[in-house]
């Protein structure tokens, strides 16, 4: 009898699972409809968007507006936010290397919000910020975001990591909470039709890869052999795929492709030697964090061992910090990289009043030692508050819907953006806020970057 009852319970449970199985998905989608007004410009996917020349911008007779009909609670999405607004985010604050690298982003983000409140950027509306720790683990991000929702967050901004953002994208779009300025360069954040409530802030990897390809072509008009070295994760894979796809267009032949695991702290000796054995004209490198320095060190060793081989090195913008490149020492000299923010360690730049104010404010908070690494957090918070301000000043006032509408119809510059760089989005026509970049070359002696050519704005739609 006892056995039978246990089997019965087990069967009941299995039956319950079968019921779960019967729940339909069957190709349906819960993503809120993003039907744009009929006057809307045509849709552009991420790759197309990044390729669109500036003069193709369609005149938008009517600004893009999100459709809240399919929200779980449309009234809440359009309800006015008064008194204070809470920004939520999830970042790695503990748990290893990622925390060390990204903790200053939190400090920069919070510092700007403090500055904005002190200067009443939103008038009488107080900005609150709550940043939860997800340890760069996408399995922890939904819990962190749910906690923030329970605590009354109105808007999310600056969540770090592609999988982390992807892990809450469906949830936030279904609930109609703005997921602003994801701190990753994945082209995934340019899918306004599928995910109207989600946007990114970094230059898409696809854009960066194209900028380097163009420079390689200008340096090697007859065609170039290029070795590719990437970190073996989502970042590296997307980057490498983008570069390989456009390589023929720029007369580039990829002669070798090597990878390194993100967790591998050993220098990539074998990989660089493999690339060196093909003697490419240039190397496109997409390492991560401290891997930037070890890669450059190995390239220097390989150059010393292969007399006459002196490739141009193009390295991802995530390495474009003198703090990281200092670790490589002379091995970093002459490399090409890119950015769209200023280098605050450059004395000329640091003397600009707005930037001097930023540095002074951070020093006032006792965070003067992280002014470079905190810059991404400051910039993200500044753009977030600018979006909120635009929403506040809109006819609808400050609502969740007006915030995402403001984000997708946005055109501003930030304290830390380079001269000429505009942070702008335009409905479905331009779905990436940052597409202008400057290719720079690093001088290891002065620890400064020199501009190469003009600011590239061709990718702005």
């Amino acid at each position: 009898m006892k056995r039978i009852s246990k089997k019965a319970i087990a069967l009941t449970m299995a039956g319950a699972l079968a019921l779960a199985a019967c729940g339909g998905d069957d190709g349906g989608t819960d993503a809120p409809s993003t039907e744009a007004p009929s006057t809307e410009a045509p849709t552009t996917d991420a790759p197309t968007d990044t390729e669109a020349p500036a003069d193709t911008e369609a005149p938008a007779a009517e600004a893009w507006a999100v459709n809240t009909d399919d929200c779980v609670d449309p009234d809440a999405a359009n309800a006015p936010i008064e008194g204070s607004i809470k920004i939520g985010s999830a970042m790695p604050l503990s748990g290893g290397v990622a925390a060390t690298a990204f903790a200053p982003v939190k400090d920069g983000f919070e510092a700007y919000v403090q500055w904005a409140n002190e200067n009443k950027i939103l008038g009488d509306v107080t900005i609150e910020v709550q940043i939860e720790d997800d340890q760069y683990n996408k399995d922890l991000t939904p819990g962190a975001v749910e906690k923030l929702l329970d605590s009354g967050a109105h808007v999310f901004s600056g969540i770090i990591g592609s999988p982390n953002n992807a892990a809450v994208r469906d949830l936030l779009n279904e609930e109609c909470y703005p997921q602003l300025l994801a701190l990753t360069g994945s082209p995934e954040w340019g899918k306004a039709e599928e995910y109207p409530w989600t946007t990114g802030i970094l230059i898409p990897y696809t854009v960066e890869a194209r900028a380097y390809a163009a420079l390689i072509k200008s340096q090697f008009p007859d065609g170039a052999n290029v070795g590719v070295f990437v970190v073996n994760n989502e970042f590296g894979q997307v980057y490498a795929e983008a570069f390989k796809e456009i390589a023929p267009e720029f007369g580039i032949t990829i002669v070798d492709e090597q990878t390194i695991e993100a967790t591998d702290s050993a220098p990539p000796t074998a990989q660089v030697n493999s690339i060196a054995s093909n003697a490419p004209d240039a190397i496109l490198a997409v390492p991560l964090g401290a891997g930037c320095a070890t890669f450059l060190g190995e390239v220097a060793n390989a150059k010393a061992a292969n007399a006459g081989w002196d490739p141009q090195v193009f390295i991802t913008a995530t390495c474009a910090s003198s703090l990281i490149l200092d670790l490589a020492g002379p091995a970093a000299d002459g490399l090409y990289t890119s950015n769209n923010l200023v280098d605050v360690l450059d004395p000329e730049t640091a003397a600009i009043p707005a930037i001097a104010e930023y540095i002074a404010f951070m020093e006032g908070l006792g965070k003067g030692d992280i002014v470079t690494t905190a810059g991404a957090g400051w910039h993200t918070a500044e753009m977030t508050v600018a979006i909120l301000k635009q929403a506040l000043e809109s006819p609808e006032g400050l609502t969740r819907a007006s915030i995402i509408n403001a984000a997708r119809n946005f055109d501003q510059v930030g304290t830390l953006t380079r001269e000429g760089v505009r942070m702008k989005m335009n409905g479905l026509t331009d779905q990436f806020i940052a597409e202008s970049l400057q290719v720079v070359q690093y001088d290891a002696d002065t620890r400064l970057f020199t501009d190469i050519g003009e600011l590239i704005t061709d990718f702005e739609s």
Binding site: D25, D26, G95
Partner: protein, 373 residues
């Protein structure tokens, strides 16, 4: 000290109270707690299922496995591929993932027939390290999407369950995820309990305690090891499916898919109590509670914690979690369930029945009497 006989009304009453407390707690969580708390319980259930599966091979059979993160990942990827590429309804993927992992588990168990202890640990370690690399392998990118992983893996429309009814929005999804994880947890518990209390389970314990003696006593060691490893792998795969459906994303960099996942499962099992059925359950709940609490220190560095760790550049969460776990193991070397049992017997002693049922005792007595005649 309160002494009660096994099977007595007092004993049954005590059991009933235990069941009632659990029942009320299980109902209380999704009906009375905040959505984020419900989500934390779902997360805990996922880890508990994984730790239970590990307990079956390590706690009860003595086969050291550090490769269960691979089975977890295998389950998650099976579900993601079937849902995204083949349009399967998510619920059916539990069965498919369990079947695929069962086969994989049996194959991986083959080396376990010739090696044990630290050597087996190394083989399973290799499995854990190899899995993410395999997923990112260029020749498998067509299937796994490589390092990018697979996203938007979820129930588009939540199934309508009896009693629970129709669920909508994030609250509904959280409640659904909770009940789904709970059902899988109960099934896993029943499977583990059924095995442990069965003849097969006793043969596993015999293998753990003395493999040679078990073989001499007639235990088919080969079959038992392969079978239990396969079952364990399939249970762990269901945890992987749950995790993927909870986040909607699976990537080879995901914490529980990498070696770190195996360590977490092992930690939960040991903290709760290895070789006990309730150990992983208690360990999982305590681990998730501790993890969430300590991570909170990262965002709120004021107060006492701020005073203690204000000097640190980053959050002290990991440090505090580590110290807390070390303290638990110091105070409860046999796990929290072991500690509970030790304290419980000081308050209540359950006097077991005499061996054998009354009928068996009578038959034995008659046999002895017959022999004497």
């Amino acid at each position: 000290m309160w002494k009660i006989k096994e099977g007595s009304p007092q004993h049954w009453a005590l059991r009933l109270v235990g069941v009632a407390v659990i029942f009320i707690a299980v109902i209380w969580v999704p009906t009375q707690m905040s959505t984020s708390r419900v989500g934390q319980f779902s997360d805990a259930f996922v880890l508990i299922v994984a730790a239970m599966s590990l307990n079956l091979v390590l706690g009860f059979t003595g086969m050291i496995s550090i490769g269960h993160s691979a089975f977890f990942g295998l389950g998650g990827y099976t579900a993601a591929i079937l849902i995204k590429d083949h349009g399967w309804s998510p619920g059916y993927t539990f069965y498919a993932a369990a079947a695929v992992a069962f086969v994989a588990g049996c194959v991986i168990a083959l080396p376990a027939l010739r090696i044990k202890g630290i050597y087996l640990a190394l083989v399973t370690l290799a499995v854990a390290v190899l899995f993410p690399v395999l997923v990112k392998w260029k020749k498998l990118v067509w299937l796994t999407d490589g390092a990018k992983g697979i996203d938007s893996v979820r129930y588009d429309d939540l199934p309508v369950w009896p009693i629970i009814g129709e669920l909508k929005g994030r609250d509904g999804r959280a409640v659904f995820a909770y009940w789904l994880a709970f059902v899988v947890l109960v099934i896993t518990y029943l499977v583990c309990r059924g095995i442990v209390k069965s003849r097969f389970g006793r043969s596993l314990v015999a293998i753990r305690d003395n493999e040679t003696a078990a073989a001499v006593m007639g235990v088919n060691v080969t079959a038992a090891k392969v079978l239990v490893f396969g079952i364990s792998a399939s249970l762990c795969a269901t945890a992987g499916v749950l995790s993927t459906l909870r986040t909607g994303v699976i990537t080879p960099e995901g914490q529980y898919v990498t070696l770190l996942g195996s360590i977490v499962f092992l930690l939960i099992m040991v903290v709760g109590g290895a070789g006990t059925l309730w150990g992983p359950i208690v360990g999982g709940l305590v681990y998730v509670w501790l993890d969430n609490t300590t991570r909170g220190f990262g965002s709120e560095s004021d107060g006492f914690i701020g005073f203690l760790f204000g000097w640190a550049d980053q959050s002290p969460a990991t440090l505090i979690l580590g110290v807390a776990l070390v303290l638990i193991m110091f105070l409860a070397p046999y796990g929290l369930v072991g500690l509970f049992k030790r304290l419980w017997v000081k308050a209540v002693v359950v006097i077991p029945r005499p061996a054998g049922t009354p009928v068996a005792v009578q038959m034995a007595a008659e046999t002895v009497a017959g022999d004497l005649r």
